[in-house]
Symmetry: C2
Subunit: 239 residues, 2 copies
């Protein structure tokens, strides 16, 4: 009954973004029956300190709650853990040290999308201040010879932050409209592609059928595809 | 860090129906922030014996895998468990005995929808042969003075069974068209309301924007609302 492959998803940040990752997992897995789909267990507990506020120094750290979630996922025997939140990757090192199961990294999965393909000159990054400050995507892009285009402080304040919190309140259309303005601003500054590096953004842009989706890379989808590849490599040995 | 309320969802039957229940949970909970949403952990492991075949005597029992899922949910401290599959309620008694956390019952949640309201004369039940044979809904309706209308063997073979398996293959539109024919047949025999007592059915009818949805009761939604009520009663005492 033990599962050689069992994906753990550390979610709840927010709970709707976690469902979005789960849908992407199912879509990324070619399957002609339920039994061929990726086995996963999901910690979707949103009672966790706000990541954006913690990184801005205006709220408590979510680390204790993240560690608790990782512990619970390990307790049920997960073989891998994916984190359904870009910003929460700030605590990646501490979580990885605390986990028997290896943790996948959403930035690695996203950067791998550009491997072996013709590179764009400029890529826009739609992300929280915390993710932008960490510089994960920018460092990766620099190493590939790609220039990063970032939102300004003013754009974050006016469009990105209220857009994300609208999604969290369930107002997807409002969120989509605000985040579309953010996307347009980055493209106006020369971004040929966009990385939607906050799990609320693709959900909101899909709600308003945004044309920006056509040039966007969704890290949640990149992560889902990485999970699906791991599962497909082991699927034949299962049950 | 312990959670006085933590809903466990025994899912994977199929994995998409589990996501559907999770969406309904989020929609059933009034929340203005992530933190107000229902905390839940989801066992979405579809490597489980086919329930319909087990009950037809043509396949192995899913009970060992269901018991394993219940054990894992208990291991992470769930306070309640909901089962995201009507047919799996066949093994409800064995699972409830095996669980420290109480198990909710999807049929009780569904029958409660009729409490204190004017009763329809006839209600159609769209369900697997196993669920129909168990008679859970029919017994409940008889006790309320409501007549049940069931699919015939021929209808199940022609519409219901292929419709469900189409959904499981990801062919939602095909599934929706077949299940709409099943719904129409029950209404033609006098059903004023329909109970969509297989978790694939509401997903598929929504895909084809079926007019039958307007007179339908979705047990997954009834179950989600029951979970939300339990959470709301405790929410103020949390964090």
């Amino acid at each position: 009954m033990s599962t050689p492959f069992l994906l753990g998803i550390l979610g709840g940040m927010g709970p709707l973004a976690t469902l979005d990752l789960m849908h992407k997992l199912l879509r990324a897995t070619p399957a002609s029956s339920d039994q061929q789909q990726i086995p996963h267990v999901v910690w979707n507990v949103p009672q966790i300190a706000d990541r954006q506020r913690a990184l801005a120094g205006t709220g408590p750290s979510p680390l204790p709650q993240l560690l608790y979630g990782v512990e619970q996922l390990n307790r049920v025997g997960v073989s891998h853990i994916a984190i359904a939140c870009n910003t929460a990757h700030h605590w990646y090192e501490a979580l990885a040290q605390h986990s028997d199961a290896p943790l996948l990294h959403i930035v690695d999965a996203t950067l791998a999308v550009f491997d072996g393909k013709e590179k764009p000159r400029r890529v826009g990054i739609i992300a929280t201040q915390g993710t932008l400050d960490a510089g994960w995507f920018q460092h990766g892009f620099t190493a590939m010879g790609i220039e990063s285009v970032q939102p300004t402080q003013e754009e974050l304040r006016q469009w990105f932050v209220p857009g994300c919190y609208a999604v969290k309140r369930g107002e997807l259309r409002t969120g989509g409209e605000l985040l579309s303005l953010q996307a347009q601003a980055l493209r106006d500054r020369g971004a040929e592609r966009l990385v939607l590096a906050c799990t609320e953004v693709p959900v909101a842009l899909a709600e308003v059928t945004s044309p920006h989706l056509a040039v966007s890379i969704d890290p949640a989808e990149a992560l889902a595809r990485q999970c699906a590849r791991l599962w497909l490599a082991q699927r034949e040995t299962w049950h």
